[in-house]
């Protein structure tokens, strides 16, 4: 379940950025919720002290594209939304970068910012693993959730971060996503979840597995209100996350080249002793087989998602007008 996909290049994990041009350089400011003040809407923490910036300096000015092997100037890459200008390879994004990419400036209200994991099973090494991941990423856990404005749509948004323990889903990821889905249901908002994950988090055992049922349950009731749920699959999305909220969406969208699947390629190879077909478990492979709705390049992502919501929320809009 929690098998992590092989990294396509070791450089990739070293790559961090906090800023997206065009959404220039502001951490999302907290605008008070338009509805009554809500206990669950916690303020976004201060920008992480130094962590990512230090790393950027330490890592140097250049990086190598894992796909075309071209050396790319880091600033240029960032200016291009972390997409390689030579081969269109989509580098991983941190959760905050993706939040910036998708919601309008200053519109994001983070929920449950201070929720963090506990070592419920007293699993060997888990606490130190958690601490190391928190220090590395400046995040409490592997997902950021909240409400934001995406062009003219208010959305409930969840964004995962692979750099936090491989984006694995334990109680915190499950709970935060469930809460933001429930908030969407309550306020009549569309839900968008951007996934990147190796699967369920082993260290929390069956609690992690149960997050699959919990999130899908929340989406079941969201869907009963005929509210749209769009799942964005980014590189990589595997296992327990794929077998839960990520695939019960009205629209399943993927970024180009994203590795997407249930079982890890090594496990499949070991089990079946078969050669894996070319491009196996990529976004393009899934689209060819009719498993996802569309592949959308990062540059068009926000606009395209807003376009989908125009259609999916059309009924709600006219209903509220009529009401």
């Amino acid at each position: 379940m929690s098998e992590r996909p092989e990294k396509s290049d070791k450089n990739e994990t070293k790559f961090f950025t906090r800023r997206i041009p065009g959404v220039e350089s502001k951490e999302p400011m907290v605008t008070p919720p338009s509805s009554a003040p809500d206990q669950s809407m916690l303020k976004k923490p201060k920008p992480v002290s130094g962590g990512p910036k230090k790393r950027m300096i330490a890592e140097g000015t250049f990086t190598k594209c894992p796909k075309c092997k071209e050396t790319v100037f880091r600033k240029e890459l960032e200016a291009n939304l972390n997409v390689c200008r030579h081969c269109e390879h989509h580098f991983m994004l941190t959760a905050w970068d993706r939040v910036h990419l998708l919601v309008d400036e200053d519109s994001f209200e983070q929920m449950d910012a201070d929720m963090s994991s506990v070592d419920v099973l007293e699993f060997p090494g888990y606490l130190s693993k958690l601490e190391a991941n928190q220090q590395k990423t400046g995040m409490k856990d592997a997902v950021i959730t909240g409400l934001g404005q995406m062009e003219h749509h208010r959305i409930a948004l969840g964004v995962m971060d692979f750099s936090f323990n491989g984006g694995s889903m334990g109680s915190v990821v499950g709970e935060k996503l469930t809460r933001v889905i429930e908030k969407g249901t309550e306020l009549g908002l569309p839900v968008i979840i951007c996934s990147t994950s190796g699967g369920a988090r082993m260290y929390e055992g069956m609690f992690s597995l149960m997050q699959m049922a919990k999130t899908c349950g929340a989406l079941a009731y969201h869907g009963k209100r005929k509210l749209p749920f769009i799942s964005l699959l980014t590189d990589p999305t595997m296992a327990g996350v794929m077998a839960s909220f990520a695939t019960v969406a009205d629209l399943i969208i993927a970024e180009p080249g994203a590795r997407i699947g249930f079982a890890g390629p090594r496990v499949i190879k070991d089990t079946t002793k078969a050669d894996l077909p070319d491009g196996f478990q990529t976004a393009e492979f899934l689209q060819d087989r009719g498993l996802i709705d569309a592949i959308v390049p990062r540059k068009e992502l926000k606009e395209q998602l807003a376009y989908y919501l125009d259609f999916m929320m059309a009924g709600h809009r006219s209903a509220s007008k009529a009401g």
Partner: protein, 320 residues
């Protein structure tokens, strides 16, 4: 021929001695009785068994859960229900024999039964894919469960799988989606659902038919997010860490119950369910009947609300 697991070796050794002694007594030309010695060894066997089985660790229970003689879904179905009639296929692609299902009667209560099914021998295991279902299996199970919902039949799901099948075809036909849709749709079923883990509760492949109002588990079954082997390989890169992984994951029936991840444990006879299928089937049946009667007296709305809250409440974290 009785099958012994590695940790049962002391019993196997005593058993061998016992049989030798009995044979010797029969064939010996001298009319010597070994009754005393035989009784002694029999007593010793009993004591050794009690000692071994009263003290099983997680990895030993996993081995028991995978015991090749352990009763499988259809064994229980035939013991517990009358007039079971298997229904086939997902109406889309094929009939996954790793998943069975159909109408059945629990005494006078008509129900729908689904369950993952392992094979008893090599031939059957190939047909059943060793109990690891493809997307077709999960879609068949959902088709039957939705039909049960339509006709107000309670659902009983038997779980016994190492996991959903990790194969090329499974990926091409979207195994992840098949499981996920089951999780969502089972949450909305308006009839009582009881799941029972009878052997292996292998991760998403088990949960794919496990979103139930009550989750029961046999004493020596396990239910885990990942196999101890997989966990040991990923975290410790070492097969010798399997027992440690099994222990750390908290996957045994009593551990799961104390964490409120399962509702009830059904006891097994000493040494495991394979030693007395009738007794275990009877216990399952009486537990199913009592659980079902309380679920049937719950209103549809409360049933769904309770099921949602049950899974909603699972998770441990701190805030601020």
């Amino acid at each position: 021929m009785k099958y012994y697991l590695e940790f049962e070796k002391p019993v196997a050794e005593l058993q061998r001695k016992l049989e030798e002694l009995k044979r010797h007594e029969e064939t010996s030309s001298l009319a010597i009785s070994f009754q005393e010695e035989i009784a002694l060894i029999e007593k010793k066997i009993q004591e050794t068994r009690e000692q071994i089985f009263s003290n099983l660790n997680a990895h030993q229970r996993v081995q028991l859960a995978r015991h090749p003689k352990r009763p499988y879904t259809l064994d229980y179905i035939h013991h517990i229900f009358s007039d079971f009639s298997e229904l086939h296929g997902d109406r889309l692609f094929g009939d996954d024999r790793a998943m069975v299902g159909g109408f059945a009667s629990l005494d006078d209560q008509k129900v729908m039964v689904v369950g993952t099914q392992k094979g008893r021998d090599t031939k059957e295991n190939i047909m059943r894919n060793f109990g690891s279902a493809h997307p077709e299996g999960y879609r068949k199970a959902l088709r039957l469960m939705k039909m049960a919902d339509k006709f107000s039949l309670p659902i009983v799901a038997f779980i016994d799988t190492a996991g959903a099948y990790p194969g090329i075809g499974a990926e091409e036909r979207h195994i992840a989606e098949a499981i996920a849709v089951n999780l969502r749709e089972m949450m909305l079923l308006e009839v009582p659902v009881i799941a029972i883990v009878i052997g292996e509760g292998g991760s998403g492949g088990a949960l794919g038919i496990g979103v139930a109002d009550k989750v029961l588990i046999l004493e020596n079954a396990y239910y885990s997010v990942i196999s101890p082997e997989g966990c040991a390989a990923i975290l410790w890169k070492n097969q010798s860490a399997i027992p440690k992984a099994a222990e750390s994951l908290r996957i045994t029936a009593d551990q799961l119950q104390s964490l409120k991840l399962v509702d009830d444990i059904i006891p097994e006879p000493l040494g495991g369910a394979q030693n007395d299928v009738d007794i275990v089937a009877d216990s399952i049946k009486s537990t199913l009947k009592s659980t079902l009667s309380s679920l049937l007296s719950t209103s549809k709305e409360d049933l769904m609300k309770n099921r949602y809250s049950k899974f909603r409440s699972l998770g441990r974290f701190v805030e601020a």
